[in-house]
């Protein structure tokens, strides 16, 4: 039967567009503007889904997404909220959780078992025997529940954006519209959010005699639409209230995280159901649902309807619905307290009124509502009213979840029958029916007053504080709309199929506090989060325990007040990985890449990633290093310059080692502990000058060491600059007997053993590139660690490979390096050590100086050095199963754990498996037999051995022949942009600009609304030290005074003061003074250090970038600050500097670490494509910006 009415004023349908979809295999007609449920109701269907536990037929309850009666699934999605979801033409929707379809659901049989399935039945019935519980659990989970995830379809992710405003108004009913209009009128930036498809709240469907022609609502909406300082977000819900007034608005397109200076909560109330026998039959619905059907979707809800009136307002609803053409025949007054005149008006309008009545039960025919049995006139009349709809109008309860999360407190106002706010935190205001204000004029007045209070919070002048209107004087909810029946089935929670008997059982068994009852019965824990069940649950609990409503209290409404799709929570996938300058080379040459902390590093170079191929590759690479020469990318090492008068003081405090005898041009091994004496990092420190040191750290600790050095400099008020160079410099370790010969062919540094001894550090050119070279012996061969600019690291690597080919050079990966250093007995901090290891346990005790009066960890190390209980020792295993020894296996002696394996590998030079074990001190003597417990439990014998396993006297450092310095002409090596490869080769080629290779467009530029450009060719300089200001003054440039501020230079250049004594100069895209400054020759003076800096440099051109930055950056936008508005911040998890270039088009610039460059560029480009933007190249900048 078609229940659709002719077109009505105010309906949400677009009748010009109609289509059909399938429901349970049958076609259903719909108009644009319909929801799935409204279209199903228009087709005459009342049973739309099955319930969670007993598989009872369910239909419309609120039609406002406040219940979860009608959850559907399609081929693409599940748990679809049919009440508010527009049907897709041709889609096939089915009810969730049925066995054999909605109509013939075999699960109905569970209803017969209801007496033995009370709340929590499975804990009582199936706990014994315990081994069967998993089986029962699976069965129960299968029988009860919600939808299944569709296997088809790609996983979806949505963007999560930040938005900033002065006043956020939640709820667009009368008070919300009034508040938003008042705040907007005062010039505040306003966001108005409403859960329904269109703003208006109750005024859309149940206006009573208020705003009867909708003129007020229409006027406010027009006002808001015309204002450019208002954003109206419809069809979205504010899901939580977080600290600092941050509210996630869950929209169809993802989460909008709104940060507001003040919040007006005009969330309104949820209409509440009555509790009586069979109150869940399809056809029993909230009065609001019937009103929505009629007025928004032009559907006649019934042929003969009955309204349960619990409040005087229900009479107004009934009169209005009847006047609007609803076939409402009878009104059952449950003791509403309506004045006699109102009762007479209802009778005069043709309604049959039963006074002083109670509902006994809803009667069904074919599983759907057919009548309502009542007792009226104080029980003197018992009758059954034939009807096909029961409209519940027994009262409302406030939507107070956000208010409580904000820190507000509620009290129950008995006269009103409603919880009202008793205390609110600063910056939060409640208005409208949430505030207990119900009459239309009062709601409007309350909204305006709340807006004025919110404006005052934002520091906006308000003429005078507006008085709040008085709260309603008559009850807005029936005191106890609960009507028990001897045969039960009075549903309190429709989500979880909970009836009065379940609540009674909970109380009887002692779960009589509101929080305990919730957990025992799961009331309010279903998908509608108790919107329609919590208040009735509290009423029942109060009644059963003889307490009043306030004494019972309420459960805590935690985030989220409404379920949020996982896709919205997940947001965009932003998994950052640092790439070295050699990343592309590794991939092109068979590097088996793996994550090492944030870095991606090659394990080895092999044709396939299988274990056998890797083992063969490691053996080959190992042989090359031991017998010829190999090279490894060690760009991941942390690299830090320390410069200033207090440089030594900082090092002496930060490290337990002594720097007193570290001569200029030499390095020493250093290790760092924390205050508890735990080893946290190690590396090499080179002395480059009287107050200039160069430090390396382990790959994983570079950021932490910078952080700690900055901390110590601040704590001790030291005059020293700490310059982070980890990403600006690449590093290559060239090792093997032929290393000297290979390097000599490319370098002007004198490599003779006398001139460049072990542990020395020299500066010079390698393949024409300025480099710092240190003689280190980590892998146990003659070796040079070459530190050089990141942009030219790959070119130098390739030059070394070419020169080395005559010597049998091979690149080696991390796996090979680990084996090489293991043979040498070298410890890897963080691998052989953990968060409890101190230097004395790993053989570094002798390097802990006792001569210093003060350094980090001194007191702890003083104690630890006297009581060493375990030690890292070497071992050899020659057993046939020695290959099964793995890291972290335990050493077992006398049946107890005596230690663990920290490193292990098959050593070709020893001809056996060797490794390191952290064992009890007494067991760490060479020659001692220990036992390692293998994975299968077998105890395998190993023998403790002295380390190193290889070259104990460091003779290999003297290997190779002395050679003369290179006389070959320097190579012309061009720098390379870290994102060259990110430009698609179909549209772009490369070009060398200012000595830097970057992308260039092949054809014509496409049309786009925003652009992303790589500006790697613009020079950067760091000017460091106490003499930096003077350095700039000598070049007639006044520098910014405040740290983290900047000044524009030339067309689009910039000088920024990035730290206490650190300035960054960014070259301009057009030659001029700025550009010349950024090309200043790097070098060192007594108090100033000029360094060639390397960072990824992108231009973001076009207004669309504001949207993208609002997604990727949690810091507030800088629109109000004058350019350049320099800021160091976090963008897509990367630490960057962001600033603006003035011009015709909005333009931002980003400086990022070269290691982050590719990830950041790809992320920005991906976001840009969604916004209709495109990539562009450096040479297009003038054309794009009109400069």
């Amino acid at each position: 039967m078609i229940r659709r009415l002719p077109p009505r004023e105010g309906e949400w349908l677009d009748r010009s567009e109609s289509f059909s979809f399938l429901f349970e295999g049958e076609p259903v007609q719909a108009y644009a503007g319909d929801t799935i449920t409204s279209a199903l109701a228009a087709s005459g269907r009342r049973s739309l889904a099955r319930s969670f536990k007993y598989h009872r037929a369910r239909g419309i309850l609120s039609l406002a997404n406040h219940d979860a009666n009608v959850l559907l699934e399609s081929d693409a999605a599940t748990n679809i909220r049919a009440d508010v979801t527009a049907p897709l033409p041709g889609a096939h929707y089915r009810a969730v959780n049925t066995f054999g379809g909605l109509r013939h659901d075999a699960g109905r049989a569970l209803g017969l078992l209801a007496p033995v399935l009370p709340a929590g039945f499975y804990y009582k019935a199936f706990y014994r025997p315990r081994f069967l519980f998993p089986w029962w659990e699976k069965l129960i989970r299968h029988a009860a529940g919600l939808g299944h995830l569709p296997s088809a379809g790609a996983p979806s992710r949505q963007a999560r954006r930040h938005a900033w405003c002065d006043v956020l108004v939640v709820g667009a009913g009368a008070s919300g519209l009034a508040a938003a209009a008042a705040a907007a009128g005062a010039g505040a930036r306003v966001v108005l959010v409403d859960e329904h498809a269109r703003p208006g709240g109750r005024l859309n469907h149940l206006r009573a005699h208020e705003d009867s022609d909708g003129a007020w609502r229409a006027a406010r909406l027009a006002e808001l639409a015309a204002a450019d300082n208002v954003t109206v977000v419809s069809g979205a819900w504010a899901a939580a209230f977080y600290a600092d007034r941050c509210l996630p608005l869950v929209t169809r397109d993802g989460i909008l995280l709104v940060h507001a200076s003040a919040v007006v909560l005009a969330c309104g109330c949820y209409e509440q159901p009555a509790v009586f026998r069979h109150n869940d039959l399809p056809g029993v619905m909230l009065a609001g649902a019937a009103a929505r059907l009629l007025r928004l979707y032009a559907v006649q809800p019934c042929d003969a309807g009955v309204l349960l009136a619990g409040t005087p307002a229900a009479y107004h609803d009934a009169l209005e619905l009847r006047a609007q053409g609803m076939s409402l025949e009878a009104l059952v007054d449950l003791g509403s307290g309506a004045p006699p005149a109102l009762v007479e008006r209802a009778r005069a309008a043709g309604l049959q009124v039963f006074e002083d009545a109670v509902p006994l039960e809803a009667r069904s025919r074919g599983g759907e509502l057919a009548g309502l049995a009542i007792a009226a006139h104080g029980g003197r009349l018992r009758t059954t009213i034939d009807c096909d709809a029961v409209l519940m109008a027994v009262g409302v309860a406030p939507a107070a979840g956000l208010l409580v999360q904000a820190g507000g407190r509620l009290v129950f106002e008995a006269r009103l029958g409603q919880h009202v706010p008793a205390a609110l935190p600063a910056g939060v205001h409640a208005a409208g029916s949430l505030n207990g204000v119900h009459a239309f004029a009062a709601r409007v007045e309350d909204g305006v007053a709340a807006a004025h209070a919110a404006l005052a919070d934002c520091g906006r002048a308000v003429a005078a504080a507006t008085a709040r209107p008085a709260r309603a004087q008559q009850p807005v909810a029936h005191a106890y709309p609960v009507f028990a029946h001897p045969r039960g089935k009075e549903f309190v929670d429709f989500d979880e199929d909970l009836t009065l008997v379940d609540l009674r059982t909970a109380v009887r068994e002692g779960f009589d506090s509101v929080e305990l009852m919730k957990r025992y019965t799961t009331i309010g824990m279903g998908p509608s989060q108790g919107k329609l069940s919590n208040v009735n649950g509290i009423r029942v609990l109060a009644e059963l325990t003889g307490r009043d409503i306030d004494a019972v209290g309420a459960t805590t409404p935690r985030p989220f007040v409404h379920p949020v799709p996982m896709a919205a929570l997940a947001g965009r996938r932003l998994r950052r990985a640092w790439r070295t300058p050699l990343d592309a080379w590794h991939r092109a040459h068979g590097g088996i890449m793996q994550e090492a902390g944030t870095w991606l590093r090659p394990r080895c170079y092999a044709a396939t990633s299988g274990q056998a191929a890797r083992a063969a590759a490691v053996a080959r690479e190992h042989a090359a290093v031991r017998s010829a020469v190999g090279l490894i990318d060690v760009s991941t090492l942390g690299k830090i310059e320390i410069f200033g008068p207090d440089a030594v003081a900082l090092l002496e405090y930060a490290y337990p080692c002594s720097f007193a005898r570290l001569a200029q041009g030499m390095t020493r091994y250093v290790f760092m502990t924390d205050g508890s004496g735990t080893l946290i990092d190690d590396g090499v420190c080179a002395c480059l000058g009287a107050q200039h040191y160069y430090l390396t750290t382990t790959s994983g600790q570079s950021q932490n060491v910078v952080r700690l050095l900055e901390l110590y400099a601040a704590e001790l008020a030291l005059d020293v600059a700490i310059v982070e160079r980890s990403f600006a410099l690449g590093a290559i370790n060239l090792a093997g007997p032929a290393a000297r010969a290979v390097l000599a062919a490319l370098s002007d540094i004198d490599l003779a053993a006398q001139a460049f001894p072990y542990l020395a550090c020299r500066e010079g050119a390698v393949a024409g590139v300025p480099a710092r070279v240190m003689r280190v012996g980590f892998v146990g061969e003659l070796g040079y660690e070459i530190h050089l600019p990141a942009s030219r690291t790959c070119a130098v690597w390739e030059a070394l490979m070419e020169v080395g080919s005559a010597h049998g050079i091979a690149p080696f990966g991390v796996d090979t390096q680990r084996l090489l250093r293991l043979e040498k007995g070298h410890v890897i901090v963080g691998h052989d050590t953990d968060g409890t290891t101190n230097p004395f346990e790993v053989g570094l005790g002798r390097a802990v100086t006792k001569s210093k009066s003060r350094h980090v960890g001194r007191h702890a190390l003083g104690v630890l050095g006297t009581r060493v209980t375990r030690r890292l020792a070497g071992f050899v295993a020659r057993d046939g199963r020695a290959g099964d020894i793995a890291e972290c296996l335990l050493v077992i002696e006398d049946g107890r754990i005596a230690g663990r394996v920290t490193s292990v590998g098959a050593s070709p030079v020893v001809g056996a498996v060797v490794g390191l074990v952290m064992v009890e001190e007494a067991l760490a003597e060479p020659g001692r037999r220990l036992h390692v417990r293998l994975v299968d439990g077998t105890l395998l014998a190993i023998e403790v051995t002295a380390t190193p396993f290889y070259d104990p006297h460091n003779a290999r450092q003297d290997a190779g022949h002395d050679v003369a310095a290179s006389t070959a002409p320097a190579l012309q090596v061009s720098a390379e942009s870290p994102v060259c490869e990110a430009y698609p080769t179909a549209d772009f080629t490369t070009v060398v600009l200012n000595g830097t290779r970057l992308a260039r467009r092949r054809g014509a530029r496409p049309a786009a609304r925003a652009w992303l450009l790589d500006l790697a060719h613009l020079p950067l300089r760091l000017v460091v030290g106490g003499g930096a200001s003077a350095w700039f003054a000598a070049r007639e440039l006044a520098v910014p005074q405040a740290i983290q501020s900047a000044r524009l230079l030339g067309t689009d250049g910039l000088v920024a003061r990035t730290h206490v004594d650190e300035f960054l100069v960014v070259g301009a895209s057009r030659a001029g003074a700025a550009d010349a400054l950024a090309r200043a020759t790097p070098g060192r003076d007594s108090d100033v250090l000029v360094l060639a800096e390397e960072r990824a440099h992108f231009a973001l051109v076009g207004a669309a970038w504001a949207t993208i930055l609002a997604e990727l950056c949690a810091a507030p936008p800088d629109a109000d600050a004058a350019p350049p508005a320099w800021r160091a911040l976090r963008l897509a998890h990367c630490e960057v500097a962001l600033w603006r270039v003035p011009g015709a088009l909005p333009q931002w610039r980003v400086l990022a670490s070269p290691a982050d460059a590719r990830f950041l560029f790809d992320t920005l480009a991906g976001c840009l494509a969604e916004q209709g933007g495109a990539l562009a190249t450096a040479d297009e900048l003038p054309a794009l910006t009109g400069a």
Binding site: S676, R858, I1043
Partner: protein, 85 residues
């Protein structure tokens, strides 16, 4: 999401910082304190205290005076690089 107004930086989300609690430089002498107590003993009593917060993007440390009872920030100052003398 929590935010605060930082000197030198402006309004920033807490997520940009790593927060290290109360820190003190290692003293040359410990006085009556034993090494173990100095290393390990920390008070968690809710109170007003000065915490050290590190902003990774700018490599700046801040001293943040915060009441851990009410979680209200009372003052923030940069640990280095205030106005130059």
């Amino acid at each position: 999401m929590k935010y605060a107004d930082f000197p030198l930086l402006g309004r920033r989300p807490f997520t940009e910082f790593s927060i290290s609690g109360v820190l003190e430089p290692e003293p040359a002498e410990l006085g009556e304190w034993s090494a173990a107590r100095w290393v390990f003993e920390r008070s968690s009593v809710p109170r007003e205290r000065v915490e050290w917060w590190y902003h990774g993007a700018s490599r700046l440390w801040f001293r943040v005076r915060r009441d851990t009872g009410s979680d209200v920030i009372l003052a923030i100052e940069p640990a280095r690089g205030g106005p130059r003398p």
